[in-house]
């Protein structure tokens, strides 16, 4: 038995424009129509999808890439409302029924997206901790206990090699205090730097939001996933008029500086601007 995997809802377009574009697992793509809406679907085995299968990264990546390829292909030709990953119905008649049932909402969503694209803006702090305005070079070990002691700016505390300060000596106490004070100053500077960076990023977001029809925040990405330098402090999608992409991108890039790095992604089909979940509606004949 096959099920129908839906990639997107769109205004009608000629399927041959997709030039044989394939979907998940290489299946050919077709259209399910209701009135002036189409759903872009392909067949998948109805046992081929479950949460377990998508937990495996290679499979998740494969499905995500295939989903995206179809959505991007459709969005190149018509107003497109991307579907959530792995939207699967028992058959095309069920897909058509969903188009019929949700018609007003889907139509309104498409109208709102017409002529607009999504741009992603990611703001990072510059790599490395913020500069610390403390005197002397930063010390990794307490002054007086390592080979860098002579660099610690405390030459008067340096005794002969044969007689280093012992744990209870005033010199050791003082260098310990210096060390702790320095560490606290570094910590404070780091926190202040982080606070200032977040404030600057908020101002940036406000400025860019004023140029956009809508904006939606995503969670900052884990550095282990993105491999990006610095801390990711802002991850926002903006809905922008298609003819404003260049101007918006230039503006976003111009806001970089002052310890912040800006990355712009897209244009994307408007994934982040789908109408909210219809959780309030009763689920229909779920098996």
């Amino acid at each position: 038995m096959n099920a129908s995997y839906t990639y997107a809802v769109a205004r009608p377009f000629r399927l041959d424009l997709l030039a044989g574009l394939r979907g998940v697992d290489g299946a050919p793509v077709r259209l399910v129509r209701h009135d002036d809406l189409v759903a872009v679907v392909s067949s998948v085995p109805d046992t081929g999808f479950d949460e377990r299968s998508l937990e495996a990264l290679p499979r998740l990546a494969e499905v995500a890439r295939a989903h995206h390829a179809v959505v991007a292909g459709v969005a190149a030709h018509t107003v497109t409302l991307p579907c959530r990953l792995a939207t699967i119905h028992r058959g095309d008649d069920r897909v058509a029924a969903v188009l019929r049932d949700r018609y007003p909402r889907l139509r309104a969503a498409l109208d709102r997206l017409a002529g607009r694209v999504e741009l992603g803006v990611k703001v990072y702090t510059e790599a490395g901790p913020p500069a610390v305005a403390a005197s002397g070079p930063p010390a990794e070990v307490p002054a007086g206990t390592g080979p860098t002691a002579a660099l610690g700016g405390l030459p008067s505390n340096i005794h002969t090699d044969a007689e280093p300060p012992t744990a209870g000596s005033p010199e050791a106490a003082r260098s310990g205090r210096d060390y702790l004070r320095r560490r606290r100053a570094e910590q404070r500077a780091r926190e202040e730097g982080r606070g200032a960076a977040h404030q600057a990023a908020e101002r940036m977001d406000a400025e860019l939001a004023a140029l956009a029809a809508d904006h939606r925040r995503h969670r900052p990405q884990d550095r282990r996933l993105s491999g990006a330098e610095g801390e990711h402090i802002l991850n926002v999608a903006y809905l922008v008029a298609a003819d404003q992409v260049g101007a918006f991108t230039a503006q976003a890039r111009a806001l970089a500086g002052g310890g912040l790095r800006v990355e712009v992604t897209g244009p994307w089909a408007p994934y982040s601007f789908a109408p909210p979940d219809e959780a309030d509606e009763p689920a229909e004949d779920l098996t």
Binding site: A3, T6, V9, D46, F49, D50, E51, L54, E55, A56, L57, P58, L60, A61, A64, R65, H67, H68, A72, A75, A76, H77, L81, P82, C83, R84, L85, A86, T87, I88, H89, R90, V95, V98, R102, L106, A109, V117, G120, R216, R219, D222, R224, L225, S226, A237, V245, T265, G266, P267, W268, Y271, S272, F273, A274, D277, E278, A283, L286, T287
Partner: protein, 54 residues
């Protein structure tokens, strides 16, 4: 617009931001909790593991 949207170098992380948290929900028959926080976390863990192996 068409060539811009079809830009190839889309990172998986950026894509999953959108595919797992965005997109219209059409109350599928084989409803998957792919939007659920749990699966996202599982996915991210899988991602981290996989990236670490490279």
């Amino acid at each position: 617009m068409s060539t811009a949207i079809a830009e190839p170098e889309v990172t998986l992380v950026d894509l999953l931001d959108r595919l797992l948290a965005g997109g219209v929900v059409l109350a599928g028959d084989l409803t998957l909790a792919v939007a659920g926080v749990d699966l996202v976390h599982i996915s991210l863990r899988a991602l981290i593991t996989s990236l670490g192996q490279r």
